[in-house]
Symmetry: D2
Subunit: 353 residues, 4 copies
């Protein structure tokens, strides 16, 4: 049996869209067919939503994207004012982004270890597998523990995930886990610095959940931190109300897609008639024929009054191929050049830990 | 333009596995190939986990399953003691199951209206579409409102989704929305009666979210009900600790799959070494190659120490085809005949509204 | 390393739809959603095309279906007068059906051997793998050789694949490889007996191709048998002209789907205005978004004037699940009871070897 | 109803990989995950097979690729000595490439017309649809007719598709449908000029089939041109024997994939022990779980002794996204710089019309 160290030698490296001017290639794809044409149209819609001065942009993340080498893209979108809020699964934000911010890495699985037949060996070595990528489970446990440490230090009350994630940003700053101090950059820290709120509506469903369960377990009958997902929904809805024109850039489906689409209806329920999301892009390989929300078309969302149909585009592609092209296109066309910074976190109630 | 009434004439009807003895056909499939053989093996594993007296069965639901005609299956599993806990998306439990319990229905979309090209018409008529199925949006709003009514009546504090859903069961009983009183049966009510806990880890991401946002908005600065997803995770983990041998019957992936798998690790973090899930079945059409959790193999989960590989089976099929066969097989083989009722809700802290 | 014999112990067994009355279950699926409703509608369309006295039914086979345990279904369709012509890939008809008619079997791969990681072992043992199914390559070579033997005995000239396959039926009869003589039944032999023509438009792309290449190689410069795929197309078009009302039952896509759809246009080119296929069903898991013919909708085929849209249905399912239900439904509803036998082989030029 | 002219205004334009240096981006993808890493590995394998002086490269085409804007890539591969033989479906080579060589175009379908709901209108206007692309059916009929004209002029005997396609190249030259004479370049013509053989094993399954059926119909009992698919197989096998080291670059599956893989076995049957294909790449979105050849892994092919597993890579992507990157990578790395031209057509029997 190999050692853990032997298996964890080649790290995942994050693609830097700033280095690759894909504009000419994406422009060529406008006159092709199938996914390339859809991708080109999606890129143009993203460009258009960035140029629309009224439009707030919500980025939705599902699937294991950070471990796949896409982290730098999201950091660049945040730092270049190309996104105003993030809605994500917990795995992306905590297990993967925060994990890397703490100094850990994801590793390339070589061919033998991505087949599934060696998973018992990986188990024994305490290595976790995500398809073709490996993680040191012992490091992941340290990530869980850090979430407990953060919770333990907080005033016990219900928090939105957004509030808690902001505390994670503050923790990184305090610990010097920042690019300024020689650490790696992260979604959490860049969003912390630029007041971009991050929502994880199913926040206990990740490494943070482990830390928080340990926290609540440790507190016993005493007051404890809880995570109020209703508050997340309420906060995101308030942003929609404050900034009625919105666009969605969605990778994958799942809870983030549903959650972000639903705020239109939530605003209406609060008596404030918000318009549908004006722009919407989804990158996915999910097949529409199973009827699930993840794969449902953006046209279907229009029947629910959630997404307008003028500027919507589904892109049928695994995200590591499509996302660098769509975001790189908007970046190199400088679509964000005139964009005002929204600093939406400041609109929400001050975090009082 | 047609009227709403003209479009909503043929209701979805739920398949009754008790009427269809699929045992001979599934047995034949054991000697075929591809999905049929996988399905037969999954059916045998489900049979086996029901016959295993030690095994607690956790049912995981993702995708729009109730609207698709599968509700009666889940009710039958609960009433026949074939499942001990449910982990689900909110849409299945609130927007669809609770919605039907309140007396509303889902409707078959005829060919023209399932294409997507008539979604603007549907929008105008306040009809929502799920692929080939239609819903009266005004009725759905009444479902949202009912969630608010339930929240308004509760003692303001953090609740697990399980606690809140139990209150929804109590509400149905109080309002006479039960089969005994001439209403239709439901997952929520059957689980309420049999003490089967239902967890919805992303509880604000559904009709209940709308009601709860309205509740919190209405309360302003006063104490309010919040939904603590950490508590859900803690509760489900306690069940795993109390009943170490477990099996998963998963339809779709998403948060329910991840959440239920994670309790093995959570138990370990609490210092109680729980075994991996001994049995696991997942029905899905998600393609493994996008690397997402929803599509990840159960072998991959074994590298995380979550699922044992001896009795695991992925079934590649849309659920409306595979689920009646897998569950019908176990039902007609009377695999549950000797099973003890677990009444897991009673293990958890008493609901004190 | 195991021996070949150890790996080839559990044979694939073909499902017998005559034993499973799926009518009540399929009827229930009419009021469900997604694939189940589509499947129920497809079953009704197949029933309808069998009850339509004018309608000739063309069965199209792509994918490895015979090796998967579906052979008996096709034999039953032929023997019960539920299909009038077959268009197939070569693998189904030669490598798998003829192969089994010669007395060989397909074998169930156990879990370890279906993962792909043991393929080098299989290679060494001369075992071929089809996903989760194993074949003795040495037996397959005997199947190739038999095709050469048949070709060597024929008058050297261009043959349609249909003519050649008819000779294969005659060979089985001559060799006593028939159910009457204690052999197993086959698509080729049942079609031979009932004058159901079988077309394999890419006939060299299978075991027969190996035999025929050996034949042509052996003949050197002397006259040889050749396979004229134009003749296939011409013959099938003649059937369309002779029997203008037609229906397609398609499993998978590929050449068979395209070929059978195209005869409408071919008839028109010959100056005989044939109507579009009146009925069409396709079972497939191919995703429409790659733009390929295999996955293209039947509505798209209507733009080409090939398929009418009144009675068409795509069913999104792997075939081993959907086909027994669709064909079993029509069989148990006795849709074929009043059907006249067409014996289309007799319409085509007599085979003169 | 719009006019045909109004619908056919924006032509598909073919992407030019020579204009887009994707090397840095593909190199970055080597350290990512999922499809991007697979794509990068595939690009490296293609580079490697071009640098291997022994290796003959066979390009396999399935799916509607030319109509999708990929034609120029294939022309560039041929003209830059990056491919030695082509195996394709008929649609790509005849209905699309030859069609464009005759001066016709493919057209972008706007959003309304790609949904399927307007196919009756398209039918009436004699416009054919391929997913999101439109074709003038009257022009396609002229393409069919041209195939008949070519056949009528040939000496009546069995031809391999390769021989016939070479005649199509000669026809283009004779008619001045060449870039030199102001026409557009084509796969057929570039291959004609460079002696790259093109095989279409199911040759009657396309526009050529229509022309050839008309030809055979017109000839009645007189001698006629036939297309011998066995001869195709024999010829391609002879190339494998003459040049034992081979690599496959496959887009899609279907007959081309099977056919090209099978020549290893065919060589063996002719008594000449040819090695497995040393390199193999397949770009596809087909899901492996249906067991079909199109989706089967290249590892599975190794069990059949067809493909070596050292340098094989499946890439899960729709081709319009992946192919420009894979081929562009090899092109811009000048992998072909030292490659010798094989002119394989000259190895095969001289075409004697």
């Amino acid at each position: 049996m190999p050692t853990k160290k032997e298996l964890l030698t080649s790290p995942i490296q994050h693609i830097d869209i700033k280095q690759h001017n894909v504009v000419p290639m994406v422009d060529a794809m406008h006159s092709m067919a199938y996914s390339s044409r859809d991708l080109a149209r999606a890129a143009s819609i993203y460009e258009r939503m960035l140029r629309d001065q009224e439009c707030g942009v919500i980025l939705c993340l599902a699937g294991s994207l950070i471990s796949a080498g896409l982290k730098q893209i999201f950091v660049d979108l945040i730092r270049n004012n190309m996104v105003d809020a993030v809605v994500s699964t917990g795995a992306n934000i905590v297990d993967q982004d925060f994990f890397e911010a703490l100094g850990y890495k994801h590793w390339i699985a070589d061919d033998l270890y991505r087949q599934g037949t060696e998973d018992a060996t990986l188990r024994e070595l305490m290595i976790d597998r995500i398809y073709d990528t490996l993680i040191d489970e012992e490091e992941l446990r340290l990530c869980d523990d850090t979430c407990k440490v953060i919770a333990d230090a907080l005033n016990p009350r219900p928090y939105s995930s957004r509030e808690f994630i902001r505390e994670m940003g503050a923790y990184l700053e305090k610990q010097g886990k920042t690019p300024e101090k020689g650490g790696v950059d992260s979604i959490i820290y860049s969003a912390y610095q630029t007041d971009v709120p991050i929502f994880v509506p199913a926040f206990s469903d990740c490494s943070a959940g482990f830390g928080l369960v340990a926290h609540q377990h440790g507190r016993g009958d005493k007051p404890k931190v809880s995570i109020d997902s209703v508050k997340d929904f309420y906060e995101l809805t308030q942003l929609k109300i404050a900034n009625p024109t919105t666009g969605l850039l969605m990778i994958g489906g799942g809870v983030p897609k549903n959650f972000a689409q639903d705020i239109v209806v939530a605003a209406e329920i609060l008596g404030l008639d918000a318009p549908m999301h004006k722009y919407a892009i989804q990158i996915t390989v999910a097949d529409v024929r199973d009827g699930a929300l993840s794969s449902s078309t953006l046209k279907e969302a229009s029947s629910w009054g959630k997404v307008d149909t003028t500027f919507e585009q589904m892109v049928y592609s695994e995200a590591t191929l499509a996302l660098p092209m769509i975001t790189g296109y908007a970046y190199h066309k400088k679509a964000h050049a005139q964009r005002k910074q929204r600093r939406w976190s400041r609109l929400l109630e001050p975090v009082t830990a």
